[in-house]
């Protein structure tokens, strides 16, 4: 089995990361009753004998002693990382895997990317090499960051080039939180567009998220839970927004619920690689099936169910509802409507007591209402993992490579142009060594080219599907 390393960068990245480690520990604790360090746990954790000083403490089998997350925590301010190290998860992180500074990036991509990038390049490489050495077979780097700020956006994307050069065979999966319309960081469009260019060129797969969608999902859940209209009770641990409870007893902070959704996304993405099932899906199969052309690697995700009602029996109708919900625009983690746009590819990753006939029935049922690109009319990738998430009997993660990401990018470009035309705040960037106006124009071009690709695909939407003439051969 393979291992993955999580690299959390900036405030947002680290807060989401923290929620992720919380939940993944809970998940493994629920599955691994005997306390033996097995291959599933080893995908995200090392087993360490903390009595051994220095580096020799790693244990590869046997009872669990002390689990250390395969993580690298990077932030140019100390606040968030310090809080993590003082919180209940402090023993899960290896203090040697941190890179912090005190001054912060001032919401400036250029500071994060150019200044801190060059300052910390060696240190970053050192930490990455160390974490790779601890892996038997490293398959994937998961980078978590936001696009709108300075550290996550700038330093986070600087990392991508370093990873590509140093570990070309290891996948780079990036979870990026995009700024919503009412973002309070004025320069977030600049930061995002500059970061997009890096994502276009150096990421294998990007999972865009936006806060507005997460917020809407939470509102929906609150409405359901508090309305009591249906008179049914929701199983407490089954909320997609709930944290592990047992591990974090402190008051919930405002972004916790939203971060837990993203953490659940990462859990479900990797569950079929970690746990057994009748149709496994490894992480390398995600990009193989969902990325038809290297530049079109943005995947829209949706998670269902958002909660589980306290029913013991789950009639097939409810199971079917889970599949329908996965395609509704209210369940997507970015503002997007895949049902009314064009699918290039779609993956359905199911967990729990769901069998192949349930999958097939729902694909047949939903197919007619979805539009797939002409060369991939039956472009479905499916997986069945036997282990459900904690608190659920089953769950579904849908990943779509769909032209519905285009509006997000178009809007981002518009917000960028509004600022850039007036040269607003530009001097903050240009005064950083290595930054020139060409960085901006190149970044916008890169985004425009991407938008153009999606537009061209959209144009094929209503065209009739014609078969290409086949090779004719002599018998």
């Amino acid at each position: 089995m393979t291992q993955s390393v999580v690299i959390q960068v900036g405030q947002c990245g680290n807060q989401i990361g923290c929620c992720f480690w919380d939940l993944v520990l809970r998940e493994h604790a629920a599955v691994n009753q005997k306390g033996i360090y097995d291959e599933a746990i080893s995908s995200f954790f090392r087993n360490v004998d903390t009595r051994v000083i220095g580096d020799g403490g790693s244990i590869s089998k046997g009872k669990i002693r002390s689990l250390k997350a395969r993580a690298v925590l990077i932030d140019m301010e100390e606040g968030v990382v310090n809080e993590i190290l003082q919180g209940p998860l402090r023993d899960v992180f290896d203090s040697k895997q941190l890179i912090t500074d005190i001054s912060g990036s001032g919401n400036n991509w250029a500071v994060g990317h150019k200044v801190f990038g060059s300052l910390y390049q060696e240190k970053i490489l050192e930490k990455l090499r160390k974490s790779a050495e601890h892996c038997d077979c490293l398959q994937c780097f998961f980078i978590i960051h936001s696009m709108g700020g300075g550290t996550g956006s700038g330093l986070g994307t600087f990392l991508l080039k370093v990873l590509e050069d140093e570990f070309p065979e290891v996948y780079r999966f990036v979870t990026s939180v995009y700024p919503s319309g009412e973002d309070d960081v004025i320069t977030s469009p600049y930061n995002s567009i500059l970061a997009m260019k890096e994502l276009n060129e150096h990421a294998d797969c990007v999972l865009p998220i936006d806060n507005q969608s997460l917020f809407d999902i939470i509102s929906k859940i609150d409405l359901m839970v508090n309305s009591g209209k249906l008179g049914k009770t929701v199983k407490p641990k089954s909320l997609i927004t709930s944290n592990a409870g047992a591990f974090k007893k402190q008051q919930r902070r405002p972004f916790d619920a939203m971060n837990n959704i993203v953490a659940n996304l990462l859990l479900n993405l990797t569950s079929s690689a970690r746990f057994e099932g009748s149709l496994n899906m490894d992480i390398n199969e995600i990009s193989m099936n969902l990325v038809p052309f290297p530049q079109l690697h943005y995947l829209v995700s949706s998670l269902t169910p958002l909660y589980t009602l306290a029913d013991i029996n789950v009639p097939p109708r409810r199971l079917d509802q889970m599949f329908s919900d996965a395609f509704s625009k209210d369940h997507q983690l970015i503002q997007a409507d895949p049902k009314h746009s064009l699918y290039l590819a779609c993956a359905l990753m199911v967990r729990g007591n769901v069998q192949v006939s349930d999958l097939r029935r729902n694909i047949e049922r939903l197919k007619p209402s979805l539009q797939f690109v002409s060369w991939n009319q039956e472009g479905w990738k499916t997986s069945l993992c036997s282990v459900p998430p904690v608190g659920h009997s089953h769950s579904l993660l849908a990943l779509a490579n769909n032209t519905c990401v285009k509006p997000t990018f178009v809007e981002l470009r518009e917000r960028f142009m509004r600022l850039y035309k007036k040269k607003a705040h530009l001097h903050h960037y240009l005064q950083v060594e290595g930054m020139e106006e060409s960085c901006f124009t190149e970044a916008v071009s890169s985004l425009s080219a991407l938008i153009q690709e999606y537009s061209q695909l959209d144009a094929t939407k209503s065209m009739p599907v014609e078969d290409i003439p086949r090779l004719s051969v002599a018998v």
Partner: protein
């Protein structure tokens, strides 16, 4: 004579387990509907083909398990051990840490050469434990990365190293509406390579077996386990021992005994005019049919219907094209059971569909970069398309 089974990838290993389980439980069933002596002869024959003995008496499957990641093999080994009735050899598996990622090119060009020696050694060891080797039974899917790509590579190696032994590949045809997005690419690459190195391709379509579970067996929530058990049942009914000739009472030694290769007549095909007339009367023309009857009254069964010339291509006599194997000993406690193995035009439609979809995708160049990354170029795709179009054409014209 013995068969060595090679189970490849998740699909191959999951199915392989069900096959051995079915073979074992059938051969040890008490309701053989025959004499004790008969039953013992059947058991002994089955045992020799598929199992070997260990010191403590638990039979060991003559199988090699191969996968590029460990989860499925671990599960398969423990399921077999749990039954307590039979098991896999302790050192009969080969595993790596990272799977093939549904990438045929990775399975064929990376995993293949890298692990060639280890896997062939493992197979050699199993072969050495056979008194006499009849051939290989290779179980693989064609849609994924390991079964398909590595499977094609290994089959080629088996052809080089054991050219006198039969290679029969059990291939699993994926669901039409996708399990893997690049399944059509993986399928055409696999099929074109197997065509050159395999002696016989036994095809099971997931869609067809699924329908059996739904319509004939009325299973409500069908799992892959259900599907694999139906498959294993069908394979068991073909490969369990049968008598060698009409009237003889010894089980045939060579389990893969008939001539599986069909060669069209050297003089060439008959005139077109004659053929098209006959075509209207048939819906499926066969080159060869094998019927296997087990249980009560096998000797008196009327098989004249199978010898109707209308079923066969005009350049074969029904007597040549039709074979029947019989045994009194019942299979899986069915009083009477029959199996049909057919080499006919049934494959044209599924094959044509896969080639068509793969061709459409290839025209747009989608996903090609994932294959060229590991050395499978556009030319290799074109070669595969050409070969398979010829196969479709050949079958269409019989």
């Amino acid at each position: 004579m013995s068969i060595v089974t090679v189970q490849l990838g998740q699909c191959g290993n999951q199915i392989g387990f069900e096959v051995f389980d079915t073979l074992f439980s059938d051969s040890h069933s008490s309701q053989g509907l025959c004499s004790k002596k008969e039953n013992e002869a059947y058991q002994a024959s089955c045992k020799e083909r598929f199992f070997r003995e260990e010191e403590n008496g638990v039979p060991i499957a003559r199988a090699v398990l191969v996968d590029m990641e460990p989860k499925v093999i671990n599960q398969t080994l423990s399921k077999a051990a749990r039954s307590g009735q039979w098991k896999y050899g302790e050192h009969a598996c080969f595993c790596q840490k990272q799977g093939s990622g549904n990438n045929w090119a990775y399975g064929y060009s990376v995993h293949g050469p890298r692990n060639e020696e280890s896997i062939m050694n493992l197979i050699q060891k199993e072969v050495e434990k056979c008194d006499s080797l009849s051939g290989f039974f290779i179980i693989m899917s064609i849609a994924g990365g390991t079964g398909s790509g590595l499977g094609a590579f290994i089959t080629q190696n088996l052809q080089d190293q054991y050219s006198n032994s039969l290679r029969m590949n059990q291939i699993i045809w994926p669901y039409g509406t996708g399990e893997v997005i690049v399944q059509n690419y993986n399928s055409i690459l696999t099929l074109s390579h197997l065509y050159r190195s395999s002696d016989a391709l036994l095809v099971h379509e997931n869609d067809a077996v699924h329908k059996i579970c739904a319509k004939l067996m009325n299973i409500k929530q069908i799992s892959f386990s259900d599907i694999n058990q139906v498959l294993a049942h069908q394979l068991g009914s073909v490969f369990q021992p049968t008598y060698s000739e009409e009237g003889s009472f010894h089980y045939r030694r060579n389990p893969l005994g008939i001539d599986w290769q069909v060669r069209p007549p050297i003089s060439g095909l008959p005139a077109l005019g004659k053929m098209s007339l006959k075509k209207e009367l048939r819906f499926n023309t066969s080159i060869a049919n094998l019927v296997i009857l087990r249980g009560k009254e096998v000797q008196s069964a009327d098989l004249e219907g199978f010898k109707d010339p209308a079923l066969y291509t005009s350049w074969l006599e029904p007597d040549t094209a039709f074979n029947v194997w019989k045994t009194q000993r019942a299979f899986n406690r069915y009083e009477k059971s029959a199996a049909l193995v057919s080499n006919s035009q049934f494959l044209i439609r599924p094959l044509d569909m896969i080639v068509g979809k793969a061709w459409n995708m290839f025209a747009s160049k989608a996903y090609i970069h994932q294959y060229t990354k590991f050395g499978i170029e556009e030319e290799d795709f074109l070669d595969s398309f050409t070969l398979l179009e010829q196969v479709v054409s050949s079958y269409s014209n019989i």
